[in-house]
């Protein structure tokens, strides 16, 4: 009986630690930098994914709802990554500076993906091409941000 | 009963699948009934016991009590003693299987199965 109770306590503690690990706050400067880098990486991947799907669609190699789905997913992933970062409190002054440096390009990227999604839904290939070209600048922005977050 | 001249309870009997005369599954040997004979000698094997009221005590703890209680509710008379399969109805016991001389329907061993069939599965279209 004692053994069983012990077991329950151990499982409880393990679960708590596990859950805490999943949503734990970033308290250090380095942790925050990491978070910014991760966000940039996620958004960059979303842009790449949407770009690939739309390019294939323009080449007539896609079918069904896959293009639409991939672009929508990319937009919502980027949006939720941006929101997740914005909800973190920057722990230090330099972290705050990094956030201020990051928020503009991140918002641009989300906006560009949104524009692409709207264009894809409307189905006008000229507009789609324009929206696709509009991804280039945010892509560079994310690359720069990753460098900034990992470097000094 | 066709079997070796020596059986071991844990190694050959307990937790083995019981099949009826047609090869249909009846349950596991959840416990063995040993009866002390009137001549006062060593206990003899008189029956296989099966069902939740035999398994419950082996699970132990609160889960075991709960298991046995559910089993008791399923018995017609709220009886705590498990289903008996008298040793006389056992056809053979060997390493491969435990088989009976009677059919599943003659045993009335499994009210839970009947209840599930009559109240849930039998009511779904296509149950056969």
């Amino acid at each position: 009986m004692v053994g069983r109770r012990c077991y329950a306590v151990v499982v409880g503690v393990a679960l708590t630690v596990l859950l805490a690990g999943c949503v734990g706050p970033t308290v250090t400067d380095a942790g925050y930098r990491n978070k910014v880098g991760d966000t940039a990486r996620q958004i960059s991947s979303s842009i790449a994914s949407a770009r690939l799907a739309v390019q294939l669609d323009l080449d007539g190699r896609m079918a069904f709802a896959l293009t639409d789905q991939t672009v929508s997913d990319a937009e919502s992933d980027a949006d939720s990554a941006a929101t997740a970062l914005a909800s973190r409190q920057p722990p230090t002054d330099s972290a705050l500076k990094l956030y201020q440096r990051a928020s503009r390009p991140i918002q641009d990227a989300v906006d560009a993906l949104r524009a692409l999604r709207i264009a894809v839904r409307r189905g006008d290939s000229a507009v789609i091409r324009a929206a696709l070209a509009g991804l280039d600048a945010p892509q560079h922005g994310m690359d720069d941000l990753r460098t900034a977050a990992s470097g000094g | 009963m066709k079997a070796d001249s020596e059986l071991s309870a844990d190694e050959m009997l307990l937790d083995r699948q019981i099949l009826d005369v047609d090869g249909a599954a009846i349950g596991k040997i959840d416990d063995l009934e040993l009866t002390e004979p009137e001549d006062g000698g060593a206990p003899v094997l008189t029956a296989f016991l099966c069902g939740p009221t035999a398994l419950g005590p082996r699970i132990g703890g609160r889960l075991g009590l709960w298991w046995a209680a559910i089993g008791r509710r399923l018995r017609p008379t709220d009886e705590a003693y498990p289903n008996r399969i008298p040793i006389g109805e056992v056809d053979c016991v060997d390493r491969a299987q435990v088989r009976l001389t009677v059919s599943r329907d003659a045993l009335d061993a499994d009210r839970f199965r009947d209840w599930t069939r009559d109240h849930i599965i039998g009511r779904i279209p296509g149950a056969g």
């Binding site: 690990g21 997913d73 | 019981i18 349950g27 596991k28 296509g126 056969g128």
Partner: protein, 409 residues
């Protein structure tokens, strides 16, 4: 002729049946992130699956005992029950992942949100469990699952640098931009995706459903020794396709649809259609197998009648368990938890639970009383022991890895 046909059919369905949502998702993710560096995990997992499947199949054919008979017989009532509970929990998670996978594929085809398709997927899964005969289920879905061969075709059409792929597979170093915990977390996920306990429970119980005897051993061995490795090869092809197309583009896979993009690039709409049919068949079959394996496990542990070769009213409790499993998993998916996350979680936790069922099967495969001349040979035992160690190590490191990598994010 008919025997040859049957054998070929068996192998083909084993290939199609090997791949499920776990393989699709983990191969896609790891290919895009790590290149071919984790190929070894698929190879290891497939070898383990082949070994385990062959032993379980042999025990089912010779000793006439499917997996959960053995679990209770050899581990006893209490340990056996803990084992059963773990199996049900993990298979339930896996079933939720498969149902979510079916719904996601339907979303990709129709554009309608996957949550709408979840009840449909659940209903079809249950109907397969309820009425479709065992051989129709295996053969139909197994063959449709072979559509996934388009991934292999795609590799030949794409400008694939085979030398680079081979170099990546034979130089399994951790990529500089990824940490060790992440690398090993995904290695565990691939291992667990190939070596799924529910597939072994299904394989061995299916053997009893088809009344295997010692005479069926060659057929069973062919399925396990040829079919499973070819299934593993298919998983590697899916990974390689992601390496060729998604990795250079910088796409990090987080949705099922992204896994199909390489095929679209190589083969256009027709290839894409075939890939989606393959996804659908593989995941649908896995969902039904998963639900059935939960029914098999409970019925075998408690000694109830089970099987698809009899009418539901003759095995009512078995069908009740399957029904409850499908309903429970459906409820889980309907909470709108991300199916891809559920998939990764279930293959990783599944990897941790492998020794629970593998160990008793290994013991019984050595029991001369049951197996006669068909006991494990020396070489097989040596290999099986090595795998037991690998599995135990895997299950020890899994939970810490899950914690450190925050489930691979």
């Amino acid at each position: 002729m008919s025997r040859l046909f049957k054998m070929a059919l068996g192998v083909m369905t084993a290939i199609g049946g090997f791949v499920d949502i776990g393989n699709l998702v983990t191969s896609g993710i790891t290919g895009a992130r790590f290149g071919m560096a984790l190929t070894w995990a698929i190879v290891l997992g497939t070898m383990g699956m082949t070994l385990y499947g062959e032993m379980a199949g042999r025990v089912a054919a010779v000793a006439r005992r499917p997996v959960f008979h053995i679990v209770r017989e050899r581990l006893g009532v209490r340990t056996g029950m803990a084992n059963l509970a773990a199996f049900l929990l993990l298979s339930g998670l896996m079933l939720a992942a498969e149902l979510g996978g079916v719904a996601l594929v339907l979303q990709l085809v129709t554009g309608v949100n996957y949550l709408v398709w979840v009840p449909v997927a659940a209903a079809v899964t249950w109907l397969i469990v309820w009425r479709v005969s065992f051989s129709v289920m295996e053969n139909l879905f197994g063959l449709l699952g072979l559509c996934l061969v388009v991934f292999v075709v795609a590799l030949f059409v794409l400008p694939t640098d085979w030398g680079a792929l081979w170099h990546g597979a034979t130089h399994p170093w951790v990529p500089p931009d990824q940490g060790h915990p992440m690398y090993f977390f995904y290695a565990v996920s691939l291992f667990g995706a190939c070596l799924t306990p529910f597939q072994v429970v299904f394989f061995s119980s299916g053997g009893r459903e088809e009344h295997w005897t010692t005479k069926s051993l060659p057929e069973m061995r062919l399925n396990a020794l040829v079919g499973f490795p070819l299934g593993g090869l298919l998983s590697i092809a899916i990974m390689a396709a992601a390496v060729v197309v998604l990795k250079p583009a910088g796409v990090d896979v987080s949705h099922l649809g992204q896994v199909a993009l390489p095929v679209a690039q190589a083969l256009g709409p027709v290839g894409l259609a075939l890939a989606l049919v393959g996804f659908m068949a593989a995941v649908m079959a896995a969902a039904a197998e998963c639900a059935l394996s939960m029914g098999y496990a409970v019925a075998q542990y408690l000694g109830w009648g089970w099987g698809k070769d009899r009418l539901p009213r003759d095995a009512p409790r078995f069908h009740l368990v399957c029904l409850v499993a499908v309903l429970g998993a459906t409820a889980l998916v309907l909470t709108s938890v991300d199916p891809v996350t559920v998939t990764v979680l279930s293959v990783v936790l599944g990897a941790a639970a492998i020794p629970l069922t593998y160990f008793p099967v290994l013991v019984v495969a050595n029991d001369g009383d049951y197996m006669g001349s068909h006991v494990n040979g020396r070489t097989l035992n040596a290999l099986a022991s090595v795998f037991l160690v690998i599995m135990v190590v895997t299950s020890i490191v899994t939970v810490p890895l899950l914690f450190f990598t925050k489930a691979g994010r």
